[in-house]
């Protein structure tokens, strides 16, 4: 049989008349209180980008302090007011900056910004649904997130400053207003903000899960879902199970702070007096916190797994290698992520036997992670790789994930964690594996789905420059942090020159800070490209990357409801790239087998 008569029905014609099922909307309904998942996704994205710049800027501020401990920064005085005295950052404000940086990056950028954007945008489009299960709840989830993030930000303007106990807010430091300035109003606002944030996450998560389970189009079985959807789905489940625990921890902390309970407080003498508390356990909070906190780092990275799998398969023009193993490893990681939390607590004095158990479980999680990396490599093998900007970031992601992931094997080993816990080795590890890598996943996603979001393309050349500067800077910033970390250089230190054992690292710290400033500046290229392309970018075609997934079957600028006519049915898995015998090197999911030749057998056949 010849293969020439395979037609790929790409340019499905669409009726010209606007097929709007919804009543006319004014500006506010359309762009502000919109219930359209695509608009909400853009809201999440733009808010996330704004927070990323703020969070990044805060890290530059404290990197100035770390890079040039002796210098004075008088130019900061007009920006930071009383927090800078004679050009020196106030040590307590330094801690507040670190705390805000961590909180903003983890929760507002990489949880809300990453998951919120892509789960919202892609779930209905890729599974063939008109919208989320509940558009109203979806809108609510965005606005509650927005309010929560604004509350967090406003704490910067309190006289006593924002929370300063680290993003992990361990009590008693966070529970006792007399312990630290940042445990006064700033901490209260942190807790309120976080409680709202959790509500928003739960609203969003319930929606994602319901939508994936119930609203798939005809033929879209779970084993035909793109890996993006699998990743978003499992991420939502993780959030749903983990966030309530943080919520309860926050609630108990509020009780301890305000109502005299002693969940986390015991005999304490502070600020000149002995407190009336007794019997509580400060370590209990850490268990509750990390029961969320550890799954949280996977909540951050998992959407990036999905995005990167998708982008790599599309641009390597190959099916993702080991589709089932990829889903299996996502599930494996998800389950294991709930049973490793205490590896953050090896040196808290917990029972050493428990330490061994958590070491064992922690190192096991390396196995599914390794499977993912090998599968991505196998996907590249003998591909025909198109280096779009998205693909560059996807390759960068894999590199960063390898580098950062491997040091987790060191930290997960309790005996080794004794020396490395709370040093820059940890900072380097998690910034590579979840900070930078998750950001790379986000960039890959933005560059890849920008045409679908805005009907225009982002500029490739600027994209490449952005990629290269960022990629190099990330390594220049975080590689050296390992070196000083191995020597024990502690994190959350405002200054280290008082210690002989740490003060040999002046040059290294300066180097890190300069690299950070360069890397941060490079993000303005992205910002420019992003904003400019929304208005002036090249117009896109229907399916610019020649991708198989359903979102590319909607009109360039899909209206509310996504498909003007009927929702396409799905016949095949999303990874029919370069199928032998097919004319094109891709066959979208909505192409029935009858339209194709014998070579295009159902994918199930490939799974003997």
């Amino acid at each position: 049989m010849s293969s020439t008569d395979i037609t790929i029905n790409q340019d499905v014609h669409h009726p010209h008349e606007e097929h709007d099922h919804h009543h006319d909307q004014n500006f506010i309904e359309k762009y502000i209180f919109s219930q359209d998942h695509k608009v909400i996704a853009k809201q999440y994205l733009i808010t996330g980008i704004a927070w990323a710049f703020i969070g990044g800027f805060l890290s530059i501020l404290f990197r100035l302090q770390l890079g040039w401990p002796e210098a004075t920064f008088t130019f900061l005085e007009p920006i930071l007011g009383g927090w800078v005295e004679n050009g020196k950052l106030n040590p307590e404000f330094y801690l507040a900056l670190v705390t805000m940086h961590g909180t903003i990056m983890v929760f507002f950028v990489l949880t809300a910004g990453l998951s919120g954007t892509f789960s919202n945008f892609l779930i209905p489009l890729q599974i063939g649904a008109r919208d989320m299960a509940s558009g109203f709840m979806n809108m609510l989830s965005y606005w509650i997130f927005f309010i929560s993030s604004v509350i967090m930000f406003l704490s910067l303007f309190l006289e006593t400053g924002p929370a300063a106990g680290g993003w992990t807010v361990y009590p008693p430091l966070s529970a006792l207003p007399q312990a630290i300035e940042g445990s006064k109003g700033g901490m209260t606002m942190w807790l309120i903000s976080m409680a709202l944030f959790i509500v928003s996450q739960l609203l969003g998560g319930v929606n994602y899960i319901t939508t994936v389970i119930n609203l798939r189009t005809r033929g879209m079985s779970m084993t035909k879902l793109p890996l993006t959807i699998w990743a978003f789905f499992i991420t939502a489940v993780l959030g749903l199970l983990a966030f309530p625990v943080l919520f309860s921890a926050a609630l108990l902390l509020i009780f301890d702070r305000s109502f005299g309970t002693s969940f986390f407080l015991s005999d304490i003498f502070i600020a000149g007096e002995a407190l009336a508390h007794s019997g509580g356990s400060a370590i209990l909070f850490q268990h509750l916190f990390w029961f969320l906190g550890h799954p949280e780092v996977y909540i951050v990275i998992m959407p990036a797994f999905g995005i990167v799998s998708e982008v790599i398969a599309t641009n390597a023009r190959k099916p993702i290698f080991g589709y089932r193993a990829m889903i299996g490893s996502l599930l494996g990681i998800a389950v294991l992520s709930f049973v490793v939390w205490a590896h953050h607590m090896f040196v808290t004095g917990m029972n050493p036997f428990l330490g061994s158990v958590f070491m064992f479980l922690t190192l096991i999680i390396a196995v599914p992670s390794a499977v993912k990396v090998f599968n991505w490599l196998a996907t590249l093998w003998r591909g025909n790789i198109r280096f779009t900007t998205a693909m560059m970031f996807a390759v960068g992601f894999v590199s960063l994930f390898i580098s950062g992931g491997l040091t987790g094997i060191i930290l997960g080993n309790s005996a080794l964690d004794i020396q490395l816990h709370d040093t820059y080795f940890v900072i380097a590890h998690f910034h590579l594996v979840m900070g930078a890598a998750a950001f790379f996943g986000m960039f890959a996603g933005v560059y890849h789905w920008f045409p679908k979001m805005f009907g225009r393309m982002m500029d490739d050349k600027l994209g490449f420059v952005h990629f290269w500067l960022t990629f190099v800077a990330v390594y220049l910033v975080f590689m050296p942090m390992h070196y000083i970390g191995i020597a024990g250089f502690p994190r959350r230190y405002y200054a280290w020159t008082g210690f002989e054992v740490f003060n040999g690292f002046t040059d290294m710290n300066m180097f890190i800070s300069i690299s950070a400033i360069l890397g941060f500046s490079a993000q303005f290229i992205f910002l420019f490209n992003f904003v400019y392309s929304i208005f002036r970018g090249r117009k896109t075609t229907l399916n610019p990357w020649h991708s198989n997934t359903l979102e590319w079957t909607t009109p360039v600028n899909p209206g509310h409801g996504n498909w003007p006519g009927e929702i396409p049915a799905v016949y095949r898995w999303p990874y029919d790239y370069s199928k032998p015998g097919a004319v094109e090197d891709y066959i979208p999911q909505n192409v029935p087998f009858s339209q194709t030749q014998s070579s295009n057998l159902p994918q199930e056949r490939d799974f003997e």
């Binding site: 407080l265 190959k318 808290t348 080993n413």
Partner: protein, 356 residues
């Protein structure tokens, strides 16, 4: 200087950006509208995949160089028995992950280069291979099992109970410094309670307890070389963490929950001074758990003596009550006997509770 460097780098970036954008737009005008699928243009593919390969080579070289260059700095001389175990476990693990790191990164960048887009080529349809996948699941699993086993053995030894003969030192963290107490001749630390803390009695020691009478509170830690030392660690306000980098020792100081860590120092301060060639060398104790604005300044000194020197030092120390006779006043007025009896059950506080 710094301001200048920052301003310069930002200006530089904007210039690059502007130039690129101009060139980019001009080039796309000249190219006309002959559209190719994005990512298939020859130059951008060739340039990017070559850059990826260069990154591998250049980045790899830079990594090796910087690693070697930082070797001295990152390898703090080790001064405890268990520290030599963890150091060797650390570098063994580093070699294992280093091999995986090298293989995977090389493949990643090499494949990216080798399989860059060519117009007349077709990717190889290869969706899965069960055998391969089982192999590369099993290998990491086995390697992890070995690392877990090695780690578990070391960890069990480090966290085992301290020998009876260990020198006992109590370390207490407070905002923002460390305080230490030795049990004195009787080898028993006196009972302490937060409610008894005041400006002189910062430990809140109950001096009606006979075993407290000889406790002394020096302003440096002294320990004998080659003998086990047991640190009894506690905090009176927030969480701190005892960190002795040269001994590879770290343990949180948690209010209400005493912890401990024992170790055997292997090099005296004097030996370290010769080894490092630094006549001013001192062992330092840092705080590793965020505890407030003075967190970064919680420095304390530890001296490792020859056993004879240590004994001499011990003999010089005066009990706290002798140096501060005033503190007894508070206890003298109360019935000392009862208090001492009262305090007996409280002694439990000295044992290390371990918490789930």
């Amino acid at each position: 200087m710094i301001t200048f460097a920052i301003v310069l780098s930002i200006v530089l970036l904007f210039v690059i950006l502007f130039l690129l954008f101009r060139i980019g737009t001009l080039a796309s005008i000249f190219r006309g509208s002959s559209e190719r699928a994005p990512g298939t243009t020859k130059t951008s593919n060739r340039v990017n995949s070559t850059l990826l390969l260069l990154f591998l080579v250049g980045g790899g070289a830079a990594f090796i160089w910087s690693f070697a260059d930082s070797w001295e700095g990152m390898n703090l001389p080790v001064a405890s028995v268990h520290g030599t175990w963890t150091d060797s476990l650390f570098w063994t693990t580093m070699i294992v992950i280093g091999i995986v790191f090298a293989i995977t990164q090389v493949l990643l960048f090499y494949y990216s280069y080798k399989y860059q887009h060519k117009d007349n080529k077709r990717a190889y349809y290869y969706p899965h291979n069960n055998k391969l996948e089982i192999i590369w699941t099993m290998i990491p699993a086995v390697v992890m099992a070995l690392l877990v086993f090695a780690g578990w053995k070391t960890w069990t030894k480090i966290t085992s109970a301290a020998p009876e003969s260990a020198v006992v030192v109590e370390v207490m963290g407070k905002q923002f410094n460390w305080m230490v107490r030795y049990p004195g001749q009787d080898g028993q630390l006196g009972v302490s309670k937060t409610t008894l803390i005041d400006a002189t009695n910062e430990f809140g020691i109950d001096f009606s307890d006979p075993s407290a009478k000889d406790d002394f509170i020096p302003n440096q830690i002294h320990v004998p070389v080659g003998k086990p030392v047991l640190l009894k660690i506690r905090s009176r306000d927030v969480i701190h963490s005892v960190f002795l980098p040269h001994f590879r020792l770290k343990m949180d100081a948690v209010p209400g929950m005493p912890t401990s860590f024992w170790f055997v120092p292997t090099k005296t301060t004097a030996e370290m001074r010769t080894e490092t060639g630094n006549p001013d060398f001192n062992y330092e104790l840092a705080c590793a758990e965020l505890c407030g604005r003075g967190h970064f300044a919680m420095r304390f000194m530890l001296v490792v003596d020859e056993p004879a020197e240590y004994e001499a030092w011990l003999a010089e120390q005066k009990p706290f009550v002798e140096q501060n006779p005033g503190v007894m006043a508070k206890f003298a007025t109360e019935a000392p006997q009862d208090l001492a009896l009262d305090a007996k059950p409280g002694e439990k506080a000295e044992e290390d509770k371990t918490e789930l």
